[in-house]
């Protein structure tokens, strides 16, 4: 029996041993891996990583590359449109489903199933539907509107919106489910009070319910944004970045540089830029959520 204070290192030993995988992951993969990539983004690594410093050269070259600029532009267009539309659609669907309707479960199941599918499947289905020869364009022309044109995947100008349609189809169910959970989490008495006060439903949503759902909105926002930045599989499957480089995105740029162009340094610099983008969203959020009151996470 221990009568003297045992060595602190060995107290709670099993828990510490059990946590080794977590500690290794956190330190080596997440912290170590990230630091490694950032460090090597300042080198001239090509086929293999090597510590030959070139300062900010990789970043300068990155921002001089048209493919990267197109990638960033696409991410901005896709990201902003996705963000706005996924929230508008998700919230409206959630509000409609929250009207004591029949078949609620069936409708929710149908709206959410695309989220269970992989981006590859999503991309391929929409590649098929948007195929001008057989898909939507062909059908509308078949109805007699001979000049109707809807070929987003073959028109560089609007190709990114073809991706957006697929992205919205896949992801809006998730936002709807989260919003619905948020709506259901609101005290029913709020609705009663609003009705007693004679406030119309749309005003109640806009000025009372949505502000009350702030936490749900913020977490959903973080989820959606990190998802947008990571977008890769959908592009590869649906357009392969084409036509030309019309639908390139940063994540694909990184992959192409690292594993196909044998230009690791560019890949590291580009991925570091992606990290910065995410950090710009996540760090303020973390401060808002956990900065004020500790021990909540």
């Amino acid at each position: 029996m221990a009568s003297t204070r045992p060595n602190q290192l060995f107290r709670n030993k099993s828990a510490k041993i059990a946590a080794i995988p977590m500690i290794v992951t956190a330190l080596f993969v997440f912290v170590g891996g990230t630091a490694w990539t950032i460090v090597y983004s300042f080198t001239s690594s090509g086929l293999l990583p090597r510590l030959k410093w070139v300062g900010l050269d990789q970043y300068e070259r990155l921002w001089d590359t048209r493919k990267w600029l197109v990638s960033i532009e696409n991410l901005a267009i896709y990201g902003l449109s996705m963000l706005v539309l996924v929230f508008v659609i998700g919230f409206i669907l959630a509000a409609l489903l929250d009207q004591k309707i029949r078949f609620e479960n069936t409708i929710r199941t149908v709206i959410l199933y695309p989220y269970a599918l992989s981006f590859v499947v999503t991309g391929l289905v929409w590649q098929w539907i948007l195929n001008p020869e057989f898909g939507v364009q062909n059908i509308v022309r078949g109805w007699g509107w001979e000049t109707f044109t809807f070929d987003p995947l073959y028109n560089a100008e609007i190709a990114i919106f073809g991706i957006l349609i697929a992205g919205l189809w896949q992801g809006s169910g998730l936002v709807m489910v989260l919003m619905l959970a948020g709506l259901r989490g609101i005290d029913q008495d709020v609705w009663k009070a609003a009705r007693v006060d004679g406030i119309p439903a749309w005003k109640t949503y806009l000025f009372i319910v949505i502000p009350m759902m702030r936490p749900v909105f913020i977490t959903t926002l973080v989820l959606v944004v990190t998802g947008i930045v990571k977008i890769y599989d959908l592009i590869v499957a649906q357009t392969g970045g084409g036509p030309g480089i019309a639908t390139e995105v940063p994540a694909k740029y990184v992959y192409d540089m690292m594993f196909q162009a044998n230009n690791l340094g560019q890949g590291f610099a580009a991925s570091t830029m992606m990290l910065v983008t995410v950090a710009l969203v996540v760090i303020p959020w973390a401060f808002l959520e956990f900065g004020g009151s500790k021990n909540r996470g």
Binding site: M1, S3, R5
Partner: protein, 359 residues
């Protein structure tokens, strides 16, 4: 070796927050000690330290003469009963009772006989094959006590065991715990915030506040001679009446009243002149025919009546202070009635105005 549990200079802090400070406590063999205090006073924390469920920051804990400060909970020779019963939901009652014994790798026959004995004592034999979800609250708490019982240990720890039960069951189980203590004669440390439980069960009560023991004594001492104003206020329901004034020339002066202090047992032996507070329990105020024998008498006007059945509580004003009097439930009084009340100083408590300690 007469002490069962000895706590020496115990300290516990979480970061900068001091939860227990320099706490000393000796608990005799077979004693029933109640740790009493309002929430956040550290009573449950102290119990968890004794159980070994919390690592202390300093000091020592000895059980049966062995230093167990850093021993595992199961090695300390204690059994514990929790407020939420904490029965393992996926195991039957029998499984719950035998879980600890199986962990201790006791022989099968021994486990069976211990489970049998404990379930006989607690009259839960018919429940042995049931799962906790199929038991009532009272039955669950019996099983929880049984889990401590089968361990065959000298020290039982109770962490507010009756707080989740309704009032009637609580009273029944309270009696049962007292009976159990009489027959087992082992040491019991019992945490509660309910002073009725404390008064009825305890051999000694430790009143805790801010991680320290304010007063340690028999229920009589705690009730009759509270060491400070906090304890005096905490114990007793309805709570004690306090009047602020001054002791001078062997009498307590408040407003234009003067209460003679003949018969008061001063801590220093003789009266002192000081600013002080006098505390008088509502049940120690006399009315009716008994007033004539009281050392101090005063006329008051009844401003509120609260009948409770067995007693009737009267609100009035004494020297500008709110004052409550407990009368027999049979007494007939009406609002606004003038009433003569009497106070016996020997039953009162005097506290220094500054230190709030008993004079």
């Amino acid at each position: 070796m007469t002490n069962s549990v000895e706590i020496k200079k115990l300290d516990l802090h979480f970061g900068a927050v001091k939860v227990l400070q320099d706490l000393n406590l000796d608990i005799g063999k077979g004693e029933f000690l109640v740790l009493l205090g309002s929430s956040g006073c550290g009573k449950s924390t102290l119990l968890n330290c004794i159980a070994g469920l919390l690592d202390v920051s300093g000091g020592q804990i000895h059980i049966n003469g062995t230093n167990v400060t850093w021993a595992e909970p199961s090695e300390r020779g204690i059994g514990m009963v929790f407020q939420s019963y904490a029965l393992y939901p996926q195991m039957t009652v029998e499984g719950n009772l035998s879980f600890g014994l199986k962990n201790a790798k006791l022989p099968k026959a021994e486990i069976e006989s211990r489970v049998k004995r404990a379930s006989e004592i607690l009259q839960i034999e018919p429940l042995l094959k049931r799962k906790p979800a199929a038991l009532s609250g009272g039955q669950r708490q019996r099983v929880a006590i049984g889990r401590a019982l089968v361990r065959d240990v000298d020290v039982f720890l109770f962490d507010e065991p009756l707080s989740n039960l309704d009032a009637k069951l609580r009273a029944d189980l309270r009696v049962e715990i007292k009976r159990l203590h009489h027959s087992l004669q082992n040491t019991m440390i019992y945490v509660t915030h309910d002073q009725i439980e404390a008064m009825t069960l305890a051999d000694r009560i430790a009143i805790m506040r801010g991680g320290q023991i304010m007063q340690l004594g028999s229920p009589d001492e705690i009730y009759g001679r509270p060491v400070n104003k906090y304890v005096a206020d905490f114990i007793g329901s309805p709570s004690m009446n306090f009047l602020d004034g001054r002791i001078q020339g062997g009498a307590f002066h408040v407003g234009d009243l003067s209460i003679p202090l003949d018969g008061y047992d001063f801590a220093g032996g003789s009266p002192v002149d000081a600013d002080a507070t006098i505390g008088i329990r509502p049940e120690h105020v006399v009315t009716g025919e008994l007033v004539g024998n009281a050392a101090f008498q005063v006329d008051v006007e009844v401003s509120l009546i609260e009948p409770t059945g067995s007693d009737t509580l009267i609100d009035c004003t004494v020297a500008g202070n709110h004052f409550r009097v407990r009368m027999d439930g049979q007494s007939r009084v009406s609002l606004g009635e003038k009433l003569r009340i009497g106070i016996n100083p020997s039953m009162a408590s005097l506290f220094d105005a500054k230190s709030e300690l008993r004079l």
